[in-house]
Symmetry: D2
Subunit: 294 residues, 4 copies
């Protein structure tokens, strides 16, 4: 079917390729002139698509998505459909749906997983929206998803797609941290001669076999001691939102929170919390303090 | 090859079957008369095996394993080989190896993963011991392991096998808790209409695809709301030992620890810690206390 | 000075008494007819006070405070001053100040600590607002605060008072949980014959001496085994907001979060997270599940 | 009474002064020649004391204490009393008591809190041992403890003193981390103009008033931004042992553990756990990794 893709970065660009390979006619737009875009403006994109239009928004969550949707609400006609495939917070989806709905424009949110591997292997898609919109856009989902039975779910009404993606990423944080803790314990022990080969061996028969384990094995092949990689990791919001929501919902999430704290902590060079602890130790015990990280 | 199996429970019994299907001649012994054992005593088992003997111990860690190995040290000859395939703490392996070594008896420790699925799919094996013992017993490992390239690792000297198994289980705890937290957040939300189908969809394309996810989907097929399963889970030592060791090694393990605390907590009906917190709230704020769990 | 008190519950009622004992003329209002109120409506309260008026709002945070402030904005005149002494989230203070400011009405937020002990010992007051409002209301603060040099701080502009109170309560949660964990460990050990007397002994010379320790000793005098108190504790928002804010600010708060999770967890009888963990153990290991909490 | 003090460092040296001021006759010994010792060998110390002798061991836990007690077991006579006032793990106390008991030598363990403030304000003493030994040494305890009703407890048999001290320090870790987290949140906020004055204000009327808060205020007076103190803090075993024991006892200690992890983490410059997390992010998402901490 005909679809417009807004945002031709790593994710959007790869999705355009997979969609075209699947027989869809995609018109691509990006703010950047050197993005390989087919049209040079949102209005040009809208004009290039047959009615009722389908537009997939694949730009950074927050201001960029807000702005794009606001602009689209000016350009589109009743019956057109906007899909937000980014990492928007689900409460913002509900707001976007309301804004567009005032003009009769349809809205769906799609959590998209698969990273740089998605183009070849397909993307796991978690969809929020109503049934008729889901049916309408199903051919696109069928192309983007992996080839097996899984990889696509209509999780609920608008917001459900990104809610589920938020949870997915929270689980991902916990799993990554669990692998990290285990690997660190093998690396720190004199007994284990080959932590990388241990991980490789776990790929069959073990309880922890998983795609993340496969990726760890792959990373260790490139760089057996991870010597080229610093011990700091960013967090990009989803797990944070999950913990914040969990707190309000009374669902304790100690592992997700600990994973997040570990990442945030890895980015602090001289944490104030520990300055206080060191200062207190010095006050009551005369324990030496470090005057600088050395 | 010829091998004696000591312990014919869920794990040992299944391994005997897999070994026999693989062409090995296995003599099985268990304390229980109704276990389908081939001989009715350890000495009978020792007599039934050709020299140099190979004995695989698959009994509960702790006293049962200690006792079995002590008895074997009396019965075996120099050059015989004892393999502990249970969940022994690795420091105990080192002690066992020393005890047996005084009489020239060889020792290996093998962490074994795969649970009830191992008989059919093979067991992931993590081996500690010296190179020549590893070579000697390799045909047995080749039969027990899964059929692919992975699933077997010689991780290091005696103790390394169970050390690595300890780490494996610690990672497993973290992954399970991460899945539990995510599932609980989907179940608690009005937005997500079908947490079970979401999990199913993640089996392809998602970052969290894993054997544990597959098992969760399977459990949800049996019991979609997990209504027949109480929210309490035991812990069986490995993750606990890992956290205790990590503390001594200065490797912070917040996720593994949180997973463990969650399990221990799930078994407390009226935790004293929270009695104190409730008592304090009552003291300073006049906040009502609950006089019973209701 | 003249002041109107809105809300005559445990906190507001006690504060009225302390203010009157300090020589202030207080007019009290509460929605409840049996509250001992001096006037039976907000408009009656406004009429009973000389201009420029000072009104202290001491009602539950959220809808009750929102409604009260909205109503006051209709009744008051430019130059009047509204003080929110409750546990409002600081972002709501900023909104309230803006709403009232449109009509020239002044606003301050005051975090108030001291619980049921405040009437006799004084309240710790943490104030947000501008300097001239702080000076204007200082006589009231001087009466409410404890008699020593401490107990009152002008922490910053509007919002700062409740922000600081939020932090105060977060610290309080961590301290309470620390005491609870320690006490539970003494109670669980055969070695310690008298956990209550240990706590009493710590009141002098120890590093952990604190008002919360004093209160614990007091609670243990009433009920040496805390047998009359169930192991469940509510949380009332402040620590939760602190953790949520900390996540957005990149300040890891593992102890505050753990304290909060412990409370939320204490209120769950059959946590879904642990159902998932138990289901997974059953799936891979054939481990028995509990079909009910027993 | 007559007492020998072994170890004249910060703690032992101060205790000698407080004991002498209290009228006791103390003979001091230390390995270091420039320690101001009264005798230059353990045997000299033993000779200098009247029978039955009382010896207070105040040397670092572990090898130093083990060695001292082993040597004393050779030098002392039946009826002599050895007191370990250091931070020994309570299980080692039980071993020491047994070793000395074979020769009829008595043993007590005393957890000692108060740090550099103890000389002037007294030490909180937590005692393990039997009743008659406690009575015998009571005059020494009465001098060392603070002047009020609290500060001394006979907690149980041998081991109980250091068990209780272990718990005391665990609580201390949690409280310190709670204060650190709260302070960091005030320092990170634009709203709070004066975190140091806020802490000062909390010293009266607040729920968090405590000696640790007093010390924090003191530290902030010296160095308002804690600019001279690095954000790293050591841990010295007690909280670690408490968490390890709690794991075995099934008492979840999330706050104590989190406090400990925060300290251990503060000493890692490039944690392997986070290298793994960063490597995984790079693998699935193409997220940039940091090649060095910068």
């Amino acid at each position: 079917m005909d679809i417009g893709m807004i945002g031709l970065g790593r994710m959007g660009g790869n999705m355009v390729q997979r969609l075209r390979e699947g027989g869809h006619r995609v018109v691509g737009y990006d703010m950047a002139a050197d993005s390989g875009r087919d049209v040079d403006s949102l209005s040009g994109l809208v004009e290039a698509l047959p009615s009722p239009r389908t537009l997939w928004v694949m730009v950074p969550a927050g201001a960029a998505t807000d702005g794009t949707i606001a602009e689209l609400s000016e350009l589109l006609d009743p019956g057109d459909l906007v899909i937000d495939g980014g990492n928007t917070r689900y409460r913002d989806d509900q707001r976007h749906a309301k804004e567009l709905g005032r003009d009769g424009i349809h809205f769906m949110d799609v959590g998209t997983s698969g990273g740089v591997w998605g183009r070849e292997c397909g993307y796991a898609l978690m969809v929020g929206g109503n049934d008729s919109d889901f049916e309408r856009i199903l051919p696109v989902f069928e192309t983007l998803k992996p080839s097996g039975d899984s990889g696509l779910v209509h999780a609920g009404p608008v917001g459900a797609g990104h809610y589920v993606k938020m949870i997915h990423n929270g689980i991902e944080y916990g799993m990554m941290q669990a692998l990290g803790e285990g690997y660190a314990m093998m690396e720190a022990s004199d007994l284990v001669e080959c932590p990388d080969r241990v991980c490789d061996s776990w790929r069959e028969g073990s309880v922890v076999r998983s795609w993340l384990l496969d990726l760890l094995v792959r990373a260790l092949k490139d760089d057996p001691d991870l010597a080229r990689i610093a011990g700091r990791a960013e967090e990009t919001g989803e797990a944070r939102w999950m913990v914040q929501d969990g707190l309000d919902m009374g669902v304790p999430l100690p592992v997700t929170a600990a994973s997040l704290f570990a990442r945030q902590n890895s980015q602090l060079d001289d944490p104030m919390t520990m300055k206080v602890v060191a200062a207190l130790r010095n006050q009551f015990g005369g324990h030496a303090v470090h005057s600088e990280r050395a």
